[in-house]
Structures are given as C-alpha cells and as structure tokens.
Symmetry: C2
Subunit: 243 residues, 2 copies
C-alpha cells in the first residue's frame, strides 16, 4: 500500500503527527504537496480541498489517501493508520485508550497554537501580540503543568512500566508525545527547562523516541522540515516567561 | 448494559453530545453526577478524576463507564457508543467518516467556547471581555460561515439525499449537529438568523432531529438542562454582532 499524505509543505504542523508513524514503520508514502512533479505539489492538495461537490470532502489538511479511502482529522488518520503500521494496541480497549490520549494531546497542541493566535487565524501574530502575551502567561503557568503532569502520570501508571505511554511497545501515541515535547522545547525553551526535573519519564520518552533508528535517520534527513515561525510551535521570547 | 455518564451536573456542555444518543436509543443510563443518591453526585465524578494512581485515568469529563471500560474524550465516547446504540454506519469507511465529521464539529464547538473565553478558562468572562469581543467578531464573520457552509455541503453531497449527514438513516453525527445548531442559536441568535437562508438543509436537519419522538420527549423533560451562562454556548449580546 502506497500512502499519500496531503499537508502544507513548509511546516511540520499537524502533518508531522502523521509523518512520524509513517517514517517509524518504514511505510511507502508520498508527501504529495512537497513533490515538484506534475500533478503534485500544493495545487494537488488544493484540488482535493476544493472538490466541494464530492461526497466526504475533508474540511482541512492533513488528509491521507490510502487506496480508495480519503481520511482527514489528525487523530482519525492515526486511528486508521495505527493498526496498519503495527503502531497501535491489538485490543479494542487499548485502541480506545490510545485514541483518548491522542485526543488529549490534540487539545494540548491546539492550546499551544493559540498562544500565538488567541484571536484569529486570519490575523498576523503582531496584530494579536498583546492578547498572545496574556494567553501564553496562563498557558505556561497553568496549562503546561496540568497537561505535562497528566502525561507524566500516564507513563508512571502504565502497568507495563514507564517506558511507553501504553503497554510495553511503542505506539503512535509515543511519537505524538515526542513531537509535542520537541515542539514545546522549541517554542518555550525557558519554561520547558524549568519543568524538566518534574517530568523525568517524559524527558526519557522523548530521548528514547529520538534514538529509534528510523526516527533518528528521519530527523537528520531533509524530509524533516525544521521548526519555524509559520507552524503550530513558534518561538517568541515574550511568550516564554516562566513564572 | 447500564451505562454510567460522568459529567458536570449543571450544564449541557460536552456531556450533551453523549446524553443525546443515549436518549435517542432509549439506552439504560445513569447521569451519575446529577444523582443525589449516596455514592453518586459530583463527588463520585471527582473520585474518578482524582484516581491519579490508576492506569488509564481520564484527563477530564465527560467520561463513560460501560462495564469494565472507562472512556473519555467526547468524540472517542461516541466512537465507542455509536455502533452499540445503532447510531453509526456499519462499515469501517462509514465509521471513520462519521468520526471525521464529529472531530470537525468538536473543532467548531471549541471555537464557539473560545468566543467567551479566548484567554483562559481560569478567568471570568468579565476579565477577558475585550478580547472576547474581538474573537467573536472573527468567529461570527469568518468561522461560522466556513463551518456551517462546510456542513451544509456535506448534507447536499450525501449521495443518499440531504436528510442526514451520512447515508439514509440518523447517526450520532446528526445529533451532534442538532446540538451545535441549537447552541449557536442560543448564543448567537442574530448571527444565526442572518445565516439561516444560506443553510436550508442544516435548518431542516435541526427540525427533523427535534421531532424524533425520544428526542422531543427528552427536550421537554427535566433531564434536559436548559442552556445557561456556565456552558459552552453562552449568550452575550455584545458577542452577537452580525457584520
């Protein structure tokens, strides 16, 4: 099965949560909007989004094409891909738990995005900077400790030991957790340093994922788009003020 | 199977997206935090949330208990409940499409919430009113038309006709769409009136769901908590200014 991923070509964004499991599994996939070949690139993604007359048209990228299936919404794509890539628990209860954690990560990532865009996605950061400073102060003081504390407890309470979020092997949830920590470290380096010692299992998880041979190779490749100031995670020093 | 729902007892909130399918299916369920019996009420919900040592502890309500299963995250609960209540498509592709729509509804509802809390959930509305007015202006002018236009097209492009969001029978997605429209009408009555004629299929869907015998009975019962100023959908006239 050759998978086709449709996502903005210049950012990690939500697409990165799909790229990571495809890379970890060594899956055959094309990152369509990043290809310069005829019929690909951003125009191919726009055609998919603007196919307004088609049944089951997606609202926004990322979008995965797998044979006849066209699937959108990051967590939904992972729900579909996880078992096919061998990166999800086998039993229904385990899959629901993985999906529940993924949706909680999505909530966290959504709030991280809103630190620089608290008013509207259609405005520039500079047009909502005052509100962003106020939002980010609550995010770093209240929300980051709450979410990170929760995920640290999930690792701690994993009956199979605290190496992975679920059970005793890596799942797509670990890859999403890795990406979230990496993004938060890029966006909020001072705050993350101040919280490091309280979250040893998350710190170790991030390191463990980064050392997976395929992930390590991916992170060093040109396929990994660097963090930048257009993505979900952006570094504005004025938003990174640990209390 | 007797289901136990754990959610805040004084608001519709995200719990309402679970209550509606349970009501439509005539399921045997207990709304635990609303019961005054010993061992129930809000303390029972808090015990569940504070069971920090237990594996698979949820991050936040709503939470569904079904036998041994403990499931959180609204869309995840519906993914689990839908097939069991006969309110989801039979095939995997249909279920993923239903879930994709549900997650898009969740994004829309999250933004509707943020109109009155754009800075922090820990602050009162009055403490973030200036930002709320700015956020809501973008929400009503840009986001409501975008989301409502999308869902109207989903109905229009349903190959089985525009009566239901998916296929030719009611699913949990229709119930969530109904709840979203009802909430937006409560919170933004002027804006919703100005958009009504552009979304005839959504207007008809809302009416069709409200007339289902069990839903109609539920809406008239004391089990349906009225909309109020503590929920996701709140009516502040200053936020409801159609352009």
């Amino acid at each position: 099965m050759r998978y086709e991923l449709y996502y903005w070509p210049s950012i990690q964004g939500r697409g990165e949560f799909i790229r990571l499991p495809l890379e970890e599994a060594g899956a055959d996939y094309v990152d369509v909007a990043r290809m310069r070949r005829r019929g690909m690139g951003v125009p191919a993604m726009m055609r998919l989004l603007e196919s307004a007359r088609s049944a089951r048209a997606p609202f926004a990228p990322p979008i995965l094409k797998a044979g006849d299936a066209l699937i959108a919404q990051t967590a939904n794509i992972l729900l579909f891909l996880g078992p096919r890539l061998g990166l999800a628990p086998e039993d229904e209860a385990g899959r629901l738990w993985a999906h529940q954690l993924q949706l909680t990560i999505a909530d966290f990532v959504g709030e991280a995005h809103d630190t620089h865009h608290p008013i509207a996605g259609s405005l520039y950061y500079e047009e909502q900077k005052a509100e962003a400073i106020r939002y980010a102060a609550h995010f770093t003081a209240e929300r980051m400790p709450k979410f990170l504390g929760y995920f640290e407890r999930v690792l701690k309470n994993n009956p199979e030991g605290g190496r992975w979020m679920i059970g005793k092997t890596l799942t797509y949830v670990d890859l999403s957790m890795f990406q979230t920590i990496a993004g938060l470290r890029y966006a909020f380096p001072r705050t993350m340093r101040s919280m490091q010692s309280a979250h040893p299992l998350l710190v170790a998880l991030h390191k463990r994922v980064a050392k997976r041979p395929r992930i390590a190779a991916y992170l060093e490749s040109r396929r990994r788009i660097p963090f930048n100031q257009q993505g979900i995670f952006r570094h504005y020093p004025e938003l990174d003020q640990p209390g």
